[in-house]
């Protein structure tokens, strides 16, 4: 059962939307008949403080409720967290872990900072994509697009449809459409090494 489950750990700073991204991915996979679980690590959330989010995706019901110690995928919404020991980005990871980093640097340029030999690294400049497409440096949704490219848990089209349904009641059409464009762009622009 555990083998069929993907465990994703999100590292971000308060205000970058890690909770929204972690829980949205868990909701979106329902459209594929998969089970999802999404939750942040609740604490004294302040804008800028290091925060974590967790997402589990599985073809069978998910039973465990603990935090994710040994993630299959680590998503980092802010590359400055790689310099923070408190953030613990690499805790519990090894060469099987996939890293997905929001950075303007290429995977090989950031490998030294991550320093997990053999791990696969994806990078995408989600902050730039966010600024270009909806004018705010909130990289969470573009990073979900990049995640979808790294771990194709559903089709991009289905994912975008789910996003439209989820966010149209809460945000203006311009914001939603900007995010949809940003997700697609990050999906296409993410590179790996």
């Amino acid at each position: 059962m555990a083998a069929q489950m993907v465990e994703i750990r999100w590292h971000a700073r308060g205000g970058q939307g890690a909770k929204t991204a972690a829980t949205f991915v868990a909701q979106a996979v329902l459209a594929k008949g998969k089970y999802g679980q999404g939750f942040p690590e609740y604490g004294p959330e302040r804008r800028g403080a290091p925060v974590r989010g967790y997402t589990r995706i599985s073809s069978t019901p998910i039973r465990r409720h603990c935090g994710i110690e040994n993630p299959n995928i680590v998503v980092v919404l802010d590359s400055s967290l790689l310099d923070s020991t408190a953030a613990g980005v690499t805790a519990g990871t090894d060469e099987r872990t996939v890293f997905l980093i929001n950075t303007s640097l290429a995977p090989d340029e950031i490998r030294a900072k991550i320093n997990v030999p053999g791990a696969k690294i994806y990078t995408v400049d989600a902050t730039k994509i966010a600024l270009d497409n909806f004018g705010k440096p909130i990289p969470n949704m573009p990073m979900t697009g990049a995640l979808l490219a790294a771990e194709p848990f559903m089709d991009l089209g289905e994912f975008l449809d789910a996003m439209k349904v989820k966010f149209s009641t809460k945000f203006s059409q311009a914001v939603v459409e900007g995010n949809l464009r940003a997700v697609e762009k990050a999906y296409n622009e993410v590179v790996s090494a």
Binding site: M1, A2, A22, T23, A26, Q27, L30, G33, Y35, G36, Q37, G38, F39, P40, Y42, P61, I62, R63, R64, H65, C66, G67, E69
Partner: protein, 397 residues
């Protein structure tokens, strides 16, 4: 068996799931005061009221003492009544929590489990619920959002049954369940209401043809006799609950009991837990089963009334039993679940050693490794090794 209903798979937080259950039961009155991590549940419920999906009268009060007082008044008037709280809010309700049970008012409460102060902490443990365990309510603990939703509905039926008439709480772990986006099946509104049924009151304050006094002074001459009638009620809860569980299983395909057994049939080693930790423990039990260790899980769902006699055959014939408590009983001889389980097992022939682990206080994560630590200790105990009766799990001490 009748045909199981088609149900929709949705993603909701535990709080949202329970708000749906409460809405679908069409309560007449909801009274509550906000407190983390419960607040989101009543937010969602208030949204249903605001957009016309619920016709409940929302009473926004100035404290939890008032929330429960308003609930008692509404229920005594003959209304299906809901409320919700957590931690310190439940502590502030305490006086009226007893009154609700004594007056036999089937109020429904979501108790989103959170540690009591001090120091102040917003995260999960069961100290709130356990502090009120002798107040006379029905206490159900839930593993996940699905169970919280289902129990939310089931509790109406047990609690409002004419042979029971006791208030009931659905306990689910603060943040771990309340705020986690989880996949679950929902009944449609009509099917849920058909299951719960319309509210029937046993007495009402609002019938001029049958005037009534509720909660009068009751001294040395009659108080004890009135407590007798309350005490007599709890054994009946089991029969009623069994029927309701059966009916719910026929409707939804999901079967509940006073407890859930996981790989317990041939288990020499048994872990007893409540709430969300059960799910995490199951994954670890699978790993140990793969290694040939005969370990199983007893997930207690109904803690009040406590199914002691019913549990005895399950506790008998084991080699070692670990009881995990997510609350401490300060100055007591182990956590509340431990003392109950040990009492239930007293006198069983060949009773296994029963040890206690206090864990997860103030939201300390119950990790896979913690469950493994307990299973390792159980193996040691079964092999005749030394292990203290009282243990802490996941505490740097």
């Amino acid at each position: 068996m009748s045909k199981v209903l088609q149900q929709e798979l949705v993603a909701l937080s535990g709080n949202e799931a329970v708000a749906y259950a409460f809405k679908q039961a069409r309560p007449h009155v909801a009274s509550a005061f906000p407190i983390t991590p419960q607040t989101e549940m009543m937010h969602k419920f208030a949204e249903f009221v605001a957009n016309g999906e619920s016709t409940a009268e929302m009473i926004l009060v100035e404290s939890e003492h008032s929330a429960m007082s308003a609930a008692v008044g509404a229920a005594a008037a003959g209304a299906r009544t809901i409320t919700a709280t957590s931690s310190a809010g439940f502590a502030l309700m305490w006086e009226v929590v007893y009154i609700a049970a004594s007056l036999r008012l089937p109020i429904q409460m979501a108790l989103v489990n959170r540690a009591l102060s001090g120091n102040i902490n917003i995260h999960c443990d069961h100290s709130d619920s356990m502090g009120g365990r002798d107040a006379g309510w029905i206490h159900h603990f839930c593993e996940n959002a699905q169970e919280a939703y289902d129990t939310g509905l089931i509790n109406f039926r047990i609690s409002e049954h004419m042979d029971v008439r006791l208030p009931a709480m659905v306990n689910y772990d603060g943040f771990i369940i309340s705020h986690k986006e989880d996949a679950l099946y929902l009944l449609n509104d009509d099917a849920a209401f058909d299951f719960v049924g319309p509210y029937k009151h046993k007495y009402t304050l609002l019938d001029p043809a049958r005037p009534l006094t509720v909660g009068p002074l009751d001294l040395t001459d009659y108080y004890f006799e009135h407590k007798w009638s309350q005490l007599e009620t709890y054994p009946r809860v089991f029969d009623v609950a069994r029927d309701v569980f059966d009916e719910f299983a026929d409707l939804t395909g999901r079967r509940y009991g006073f407890w859930e057994e996981y790989k317990l049939d041939d288990a020499d080693l048994v872990m007893v837990v409540l709430g969300s930790s059960a799910g995490t423990a199951k994954d670890v039990i699978d790993e140990y089963r793969d290694k040939g260790v005969k370990v199983g899980l007893l997930k207690l769902r109904m803690f009040r009334p406590f199914p002691a006699e019913q549990l005895q055959p399950v506790l008998a014939g084991r080699k070692a039993i670990a009881v995990l408590d997510r609350s401490a009983s300060f100055g007591g001889w182990g956590g509340p679940v431990f003392t109950e389980i040990r009492s239930a097992a007293y006198g069983l022939p060949g009773a296994a050693p029963i040890h206690n682990w206090i864990y997860g206080l103030g939201g300390r994560d119950f990790e896979l490794g913690h469950a493994a630590e307990v299973i390792e200790a159980l193996q040691k105990i079964a092999a005749g090794g030394e292990q203290p009766i009282h243990n802490l799990l996941g505490c740097r001490a």
